[in-house]
């Protein structure tokens, strides 16, 4: 599909594990293990899954904040992992990242105005004289007041800092933004403001998002297509409505049923998964979910289910579907 802005093919990212008395490499964390998907221009692709399932690693490897172990990432047809330093630097403005933690992702010793404008200068995208103007413009867009420009990050609230993070990301007019749990650290009352801002900006700027979250309700609200990750692999990938109305993978089902709803005394059919997610350093053989799957069959313990397209644009990796 040529409208694909981003294509991820069989992406793998393993971290070496060091340990023992002498710190040698004793294994690998398979943080991302054979993940493929594509994102179309203008859409919001959601990536959900539990902590440690490899969402952030996927996002960072796509932007080459991490070096891949295997696979391919094509952004507008360019193989991101094949670029040299200069080329990569030149590509950076077109794809941006928004971090989960609005506190630690801003340098405490750099003023907001500088933090926002420095990239423009560093890349020579705008002459010095126009930078400030542009910064103010984008700040306004993100709901920040002009007088904020000379302040330091610690003078802002969490919600405002996340706005700054967003402003920084859109400053260079990117085509694509990876948003890594951008609202998880925020208070409920602020979350809504930021989610709305994401939606507004997308509309105005025709942005494409890879939206990472563990909060299914947020993902449902924002995303058009959603991938569900477990232990470094995609379990299911589907357009929003189909996924929420009719989840296919047992993991997706369990995930959906675990979300507490703000409706007291509502009796729901609930699937409480037993145990923890296994260590990605030592994933179970066969289907990775089989250790916790309520419907587990023998085949699940032996064979890795293929990640296959079960209907148009619906993918799932389960022997039972």
């Amino acid at each position: 599909m040529d409208s694909n802005l981003l294509e991820v093919r069989r992406l793998k990212k393993y971290y070496p594990i060091t340990g023992g008395l002498f710190g040698r490499t004793i294994g690998h964390v398979k943080a991302v293990d054979d993940v493929s998907f594509s994102i179309q221009k203008g859409e919001t692709f959601g990536l959900v899954g539990e902590s440690g399932s490899g969402k952030s690693t996927t996002g960072r490897t796509i932007l080459r904040l991490l070096e891949k172990t295997e696979g391919e990432v094509r952004f507008q047809g360019i193989d991101v992992h094949a670029l040299n330093r200069q080329e990569l630097r030149a590509l950076r403005p077109r794809m941006q990242y928004i971090f989960q933690d609005p506190y630690s992702s801003l340098n405490p010793r750099v003023r907001i105005g500088e933090a926002l404008g420095e990239a423009l200068l560093d890349h020579g995208l705008l002459p010095q004289t126009q930078v400030r103007e542009r910064v103010l413009e984008v700040m306004a867009l993100c709901g920040l007041a002009p007088y904020h420009v000379d302040r330091y990050p610690h003078e802002f609230s969490g919600g405002q800092r996340q706005r700054i993070g967003i402003a920084r990301a859109i400053m260079m007019n990117p085509d694509f933004i990876v948003a890594d749990e951008p609202v998880s650290a925020l208070d409920v009352s602020i979350q809504a403001q930021i989610i709305n801002l994401f939606a507004e900006l997308q509309e105005q700027r025709k942005l494409t998002y890879l939206f990472i979250s563990h909060d299914l309700s947020v993902v449902e609200h924002l995303c058009t297509r959603i991938g569900v990750m477990y232990l470094g692999s995609l379990m299911e990938l589907a357009p929003r409505d189909e996924l929420f109305l009719e989840p296919l993978h047992p993991y997706t089902k369990a995930l959906l049923s675990s979300v507490p709803l703000p409706i007291p005394k509502k009796k729901r059919e609930r699937i409480v998964l037993q145990g923890d997610m296994p260590s990605p350093a030592n994933p179970p053989a066969g289907c990775k979910f089989h250790t916790r799957c309520p419907y587990v069959k023998d085949i699940c313990r032996q064979e890795v289910p293929a990640f296959r397209e079960v209907s148009t644009d619906r993918f799932v990796a389960c022997h039972l579907v």
């Binding site: 563990h214 369990a254 998964l273 923890d276």
Partner: protein
């Protein structure tokens, strides 16, 4: 009926370089035996401070309880001696914290950490305590208890650690269990497990639970009663069903409306404008007035009292006051 915990007019202030932070301001709270009371509110509204005041664990150097009474099982905890308080802690009053990983000592084994309060409060021998620890680990649903007892915190996952924290908390069969955001750092599937476990404990041991969270979904699932806090003050108290059906305080309403809910997609989320006020510069006004879309004139100059509506619900908002009172 007599409440197990009855807090009246409790205020806890912190000293900060900018001034006094009224972290908890005239708090009223009641927890009955076998009941779960949830405190909800945004970050910094004083939930933890309230819990820590109840445990008398506010570090002396930075803050102190300035007024109020904390009645626990017929005793005013503010008046008992330090040593007595220590003997209550971990014994009759137990607490679980938000971050299980950092709340356990990284250099002591799990078993040792569970044994400590048992040996301290129940005077069990080391051996007996060990056996009890293993029992407890099994009780909170962790297999291979013996091995786990010998391992160190970093070897376990967050969910398991939180269960260990629960095991420590219930080790001496406390009458009140305070859970300060016990699931916030956990995944939904693990959260479901922990919530299940807490419910089980509550049902089996009739333990009263003071549950602190900011997740309304969790509140709906766990609470019998809900206390909504804003900027150190209680703004609404209500049985859980009524609260969700008919929130009274504009802040509660805003909270409920701004949360995206599964399978209830809206085009645009409602959002409460502005943000939480600076706790050091609070004035005489209603703390919520500048974010409130139903703000009255009086809201800007006077704080509303927490009014008992008679139906088991309390709210602190001028909207629910008689016109005559408002007019003053």
């Amino acid at each position: 009926m007599n409440a197990l915990v009855e807090i009246q007019n409790l205020s806890t202030y912190f000293k900060s370089e900018q001034g006094v932070v009224k972290a908890v301001d005239a708090l009223e709270l009641r927890v009955h035996e076998g009941e779960t009371v949830c405190i909800v509110g945004e970050s910094g509204c004083g939930k933890s401070a309230a819990a820590m005041s109840l445990m008398r664990l506010i570090p002396e150097a930075v803050g102190s309880i300035v007024s109020g009474e904390i009645w626990f099982a017929g005793r005013d905890l503010r008046k008992v001696s330090k040593e007595e308080m220590r003997k209550l802690r971990g014994n009759e009053l137990a607490m679980i914290f938000q971050e299980p990983m950092s709340s356990l000592n990284p250099v002591l084994t799990i078993g040792e950490q569970i044994m400590e309060p048992i040996m301290e409060h129940q005077g069990l021998s080391k051996k007996a305590a060990q056996a009890r620890a293993i029992e407890l680990i099994e009780l909170v649903g962790i297999p291979r208890a013996k091995e786990i007892a010998k391992s160190y915190p970093y070897e376990l996952s967050g969910g398991m650690l939180q269960r260990i924290m629960i095991a420590i908390a219930i080790s001496c069969n406390p009458r009140l269990l305070i859970a300060d955001e016990p699931t916030t750092a956990l995944d939904v599937t693990i959260q479901a497990q922990i919530l299940d476990l807490l419910r089980k404990i509550k049902d089996e041991a009739q333990t009263a639970i003071l549950f602190i969270t900011h997740d309304l979904g969790v509140v709906a699932e766990m609470a019998d009663h809900v206390v909504v806090m804003y900027a150190g003050k209680v703004v609404e108290v209500s049985p859980v069903v009524e609260l969700f059906e008919e929130p009274k305080h504009p802040y509660t309403q805003g909270l409920l409306r701004s949360k995206p809910v599964l399978n209830q997609r809206r085009a645009k989320l409602y959002s409460i404008p502005g943000q939480v006020p600076n706790p050091t510069t609070l004035g005489e006004s209603c703390y919520f007035h500048d974010r409130c879309d139903q703000c009255l004139d009086i809201c800007r100059v006077k704080q509303p009292p927490l009014r008992d509506g008679g139906d088991g619900r309390k709210v602190a908002c001028w909207l629910y006051e008689e016109e005559s009172v408002r007019g003053q």
